[in-house]
């Protein structure tokens, strides 16, 4: 394993899960990364199927929503989730 990367759990919900055909996958991600870079990785290389809904999705890391310009430190096994528009209630 590359010292600069960690294995993360990539999670998909609702329409994202349907588009991609699975609810979870394992991915190698840089240990430190900012939100824009993470989004570019997710919606570019890792899950291009999500392109059509990219603008309506947000990311949660470690079960917390990330800010648009946040600097993130990923730990091994951390959950990185693609979250489509909320519609609870």
């Amino acid at each position: 394993m590359d010292a600069g990367t960690v294995t993360c759990r990539l999670l998909f919900f609702a329409k994202a899960r349907e588009l991609i055909g699975r609810s979870e996958q394992s991915v190698q991600l840089p240990r430190t990364i900012n939100t824009k870079e993470l989004e570019a990785l997710l919606f570019g290389e890792l899950a291009p199927e999500l392109g059509p809904i990219r603008s309506s999705c947000v990311i949660a890391v470690g079960q917390e929503y990330v800010l648009p310009d946040q600097q993130l430190t990923l730990s091994p096994g951390i959950e990185v989730a693609v979250i489509p528009p909320l519609s609870g209630g």
């Binding site: 999670l11 919900f13 609702a14 329409k15 899960r17 349907e18 603008s55 309506s56 999705c57 947000v58 949660a60 079960q63 917390e64 648009p68 989730a81 979250i83 489509p84 528009p85 909320l86 519609s87 609870g88 209630g89």
Partner: protein, 160 residues
């Protein structure tokens, strides 16, 4: 500050009932949970499945959640309710997952307080914020078999 928040949330746990499950929701259980001798007011909101959306016949709703994160967000919401309305005593928030047929409850929020204004304002705030912040997702299933993932008007994704 995160530790302080955690401590506060832990102290509040026995006054908050958070439940995210596929079982049918019991309004009676939520009501019982928030009932206490020091309160004179209980405010309840119940969200139920409607049989129509813009003229289309809806057969059922199907809910899924990022369950662990949704539970955390709901505990965080309880904490925010108490910060905004300190007189709130008990809070119960129950959200159903999976298939919710027409007329059945998908969500129940109950709050109690000594006087009614606080409970009513808290319950209103709670449902508004649940819709805006908690990772739960619903799909409408129509008569013709088509489906549509919904988006809450409160959900602020597009404006990020």
């Amino acid at each position: 500050p995160d530790d302080v928040l955690l401590q506060q949330i832990l102290r509040e746990l026995d006054r908050d009932l958070i439940r995210i499950r596929t079982d049918a929701i019991s309004v009676e259980e939520a009501t019982q949970f928030v009932t206490s001798p020091t309160n004179g007011a209980i405010s309840l909101f119940i969200g139920t499945t409607r049989d129509n959306f813009r003229g289309k016949k809806v057969m059922q709703l199907e809910y899924e959640a990022y369950e662990e994160m949704a539970a955390k967000e709901l505990h965080r919401l309880c904490h925010r309710i108490r910060a905004k309305h300190p007189s709130i005593d008990r809070i119960a928030i129950m959200h159903r997952l999976g298939v919710v047929p027409v007329t059945y409850a998908s969500v129940v929020i109950a709050t109690s307080s000594p006087h009614r204004q606080d409970a009513m304002a808290a319950t209103q705030f709670a449902i508004d914020e649940l819709k805006r912040t908690v990772p739960i997702f619903k799909k409408e299933v129509y008569e013709d078999g088509t489906t549509s993932w919904k988006e809450n008007a409160e959900c602020c994704r597009h404006s990020k």
